[in-house]
Symmetry: C2
Subunit: 272 residues, 2 copies
Amino acid sequence: MKRTAFFISDGTGITAETLGQSLLAQFETITFNKLTRPYIDSVEKARAMVQQIDRAAEVDGVRPIIFDTIVNQEIRDVLATSNGFMIDIFSTFLSPLEQELTSHSSYSVGKSHSIGHNSNYMERIEAVNFALDNDDGARTHYYDKADLILVGVSRCGKTPTCLYMAMQYGIRAANYPLTEEDMERLQLPSALKKYKDKLFGLTIDPDRLTAIRNERKPNSRYASYAQCEFEVREVENLFRRENITYINSTHFSVEEISAKILVEKGVERRLK
Amino acid sequence: MKRTAFFISDGTGITAETLGQSLLAQFETITFNKLTRPYIDSVEKARAMVQQIDRAAEVDGVRPIIFDTIVNQEIRDVLATSNGFMIDIFSTFLSPLEQELTSHSSYSVGKSHSIGHNSNYMERIEAVNFALDNDDGARTHYYDKADLILVGVSRCGKTPTCLYMAMQYGIRAANYPLTEEDMERLQLPSALKKYKDKLFGLTIDPDRLTAIRNERKPNSRYASYAQCEFEVREVENLFRRENITYINSTHFSVEEISAKILVEKGVERRLK
């Protein structure tokens, strides 16, 4: 059975979407058609939403699930006329929080909750620039400014992980690809030795690595299973020899890898 | 008054953190010290958390707010012994959802909710690679494969926005910097003309642009207010002349800019 789920917000929809996704993930036997609808910030847009919801109810033969974080009461009232099962996230939690904090929320006084520009902006852009400038061993003379340096074979997931940590947490993460040369020398490149406490290793299953490398350079030696298997094995040996903590990225999402690295290294996020 | 808030999870903590952040943002008069604690997945770790929570309660002189998404009942029971005000996100919503969906959740049967590796992984990595390979006008012959092409002056926020859209939504976004030459020619570069329907403009306040460029090239003509003001004015004229939808990034977060672009262009996310 297919069922439609809407994540509806007067802002970006990120909160409704994140919470909705993880709640729906608990129902493994049901297939959801998930639709995010941000910036529903007027009665007119809400009326158009009601039509969409009711249409989905008709097509599916069952009412859609609605996760919403809309501040304006009038807009919520319009949505409530739809044939959907509403999970009103803010209403549920803000009332107990107001009691506990003995304070009125912007929500209950009808103010919007835009995050907008804040002090985090520059910090985050700086972190993204740091990740880009220090990607793939491009330069190593700013490693003193790095919070972390990811190491691993080419295409094991270092770049997306560094970018995610920069974007989400404001962490300055460089990354350095370990090459065959480094493996044959049986030691860390000298640029990294000084910063051993900042190093974190990523590894990956050879078949996955072969698949990823083949996307880039089909049928090359670089992408062959034998080469991938060799590199991964040697790098894991190097990690163990040098006592570098590492994780295998194969079965984790970028979010999971990033969260695990921060816990392991005890690095606190810079964005608040 | 300062008050501590914990976002506690047996997974990445992203759901607890996202929801907690947006709920706390509704209380503008209170300063929160926010701490995310992912991978609290054993009774031992939960006991250590209880100590941290109780210590914060003592220091603050008021009990901390706890947002949690922990699946295991035993671990939640340990946390509940702390001197914190618990907002148990899953417990609150899963019971009504189970009723509506007439289905048991993994939560209620005690299974963990790891997202893990899924079909999204390659899609996302591809999108990040696309953003990196097609960053800053580096190449233009893959624009047929782009979902979107962001245009604007140098350092107006194109790269972080493209990377965010890639990471979060799997959108393939290229970006192209408009230079003085393009402005003086009073027209779009020929590489872009063919793809006018994919273009979206970013603009920025000249003082913010000056500040950002000064970080990169201090005291250069490039970073001068006069130059920034000129470029922004000319690019906005170009956008209007060519009928390119654009937004001013100055007062929005990367999340907000990205969500607005998707709505404006009617592009659906590729990650589900």
